[in-house]
């Protein structure tokens, strides 16, 4: 996946770079009759998403999807597979397809019984080239906004501790 440049450079989403991404994702979501489509960076960050429940979580799904993809990828390699392109999970009410989308992005498609995995795969194949091209353009966009802020440096603590605890510690984890 990513090379040295990808480890250090920033990815920049501007209205100009995100428009083609969202257009491709929305078309894919519509044609595949999927529930939700998200383009993720391999680090787990959500680059763009559309469909139901999009923007409802705060990145948890992206982190888990990236982890799932790479765990399956490593397992496949250990089993002797030379290449790994994706993963299909079939649940009782929801299914998802996770597939590589270029050198450093992943595509997550969530769907249900309204459609078929083969249709979803066909639609993914149709839109992957445009998604890969749009993702590559994120690297070339300058990270500096047109009107840059005076400083990205906080004047005080970035995070402040509250007392008492805001949650019951025993109920913190959601596995």
């Amino acid at each position: 996946m990513a090379g040295p440049a990808a480890m250090t450079a920033h990815l920049t989403l501007t209205p100009e770079t995100i428009r083609p991404l969202l257009a491709a994702l929305e078309s894919l979501n519509h044609e595949a009759e999927a529930r939700r489509v998200a383009l993720l960076h391999e680090s787990g960050l959500v680059l763009a998403e559309t469909g139901e429940d999009a923007h409802q979580d705060h990145g948890e799904s992206g982190a888990l999807a990236a982890g799932t993809f790479f765990a399956a990828c490593h397992l496949a390699r250990r089993l002797g597979e030379e290449s790994f392109s994706g993963l299909h999970y079939q649940g009782a009410s929801r299914e998802f397809l996770l597939t590589a989308a270029g050198p450093e992005a992943l595509l997550l498609v969530v769907f249900d019984q309204r459609t078929r995995p083969a249709i979803v795969r066909a639609c993914v194949g149709k839109y992957l080239p445009s998604l890969e091209a749009a993702t590559a353009r994120l690297r070339s966009a300058p990270p500096q906004p047109a009107a840059p802020p005076a400083s990205w440096l906080p004047t005080g603590p970035v995070f402040r501790e509250t007392t008492p605890p805001t949650t019951d510690l025993a109920a913190v984890f959601h596995t």
Partner: protein
């Protein structure tokens, strides 16, 4: 690898807590989760074994107040400390913008701290990055234990680069210095981002005596 979204006016960074097995990485995140305003954080997602050992990672998204007119988000991760999860650690370290290395102060675990630090350096090298480009703070946890090694011993093992790293002596179970450590790494990450945008040298010395990402930075030298 910061994600800058000018459309939503958000910047997202990734901070990874790495370190010795059972040193308190997950405890750091659970304390932050418990003590951060609910509006500023998402769920703490933990992919753990039945015995609560971190299997893949812990993840928690947190949001700071606006900085420079942009909402600044941090994706906080821990990696499993156990030796046999090396591949997992390397994957989770991908795209990290900042690191916290959590060491166990227990005197009998100094060798494990050293091995974990060396493993982290190997993981970074294999990911084609290094501490020259990645802010890091050190956390010496479990300072309340009677068998805790003197800080000087931990410094000798883990903190002898040309320009030493910022160190926090913590008791993560009680939250002592947990937020101070998170704030320090967050500020280093923001400072590096700021300097990168300004076209400056992101490895230069931080203000207010904050140890920087050293030009010859390494832990476990």
């Amino acid at each position: 690898m910061a994600l800058v979204n000018h459309q939503t006016r958000e910047v997202t960074f990734k901070i990874v807590y790495a370190g010795t097995p059972m040193s308190g990485k997950t405890t750091n995140l659970s304390y932050v989760h418990a003590r951060l305003d609910a509006a500023q954080r998402g769920d703490l997602v933990s992919v753990a074994t039945a015995s609560d050992r971190t299997l893949y990672f812990d993840f928690m998204p947190v949001t700071s107040s606006q900085i420079g007119g942009y909402t600044t988000k941090f994706a906080l991760y821990t990696v499993p400390g156990q030796v046999h999860y090396n591949a997992t650690r390397q994957l989770v370290l991908r795209g990290a913008d900042g690191l916290v290395f959590v060491a166990d102060s227990t005197a009998s675990r100094l060798e494990e701290n050293l091995e974990s630090a060396r493993s982290l350096m190997r993981n970074l090298t294999e990911n084609s990055t290094s501490l020259q480009h990645l802010p890091l703070v050190l956390q010496y946890n479990k300072r309340d234990l009677p068998e805790a090694a003197p800080r000087a011993h931990l410094d000798f093992l883990l903190n002898r680069p040309e320009k030493p790293f910022q160190v926090f002596e913590t008791i993560a179970e009680r939250g002592v210095n947990v937020f101070a450590c998170l704030n320090a790494v967050s500020q280093l990450v923001l400072r590096q981002f700021h300097e990168t945008l300004a076209g400056g040298n992101p490895t230069s010395r931080a203000p207010s005596g904050t140890p920087p990402v050293g030009a010859t930075a390494t832990i476990a030298s």
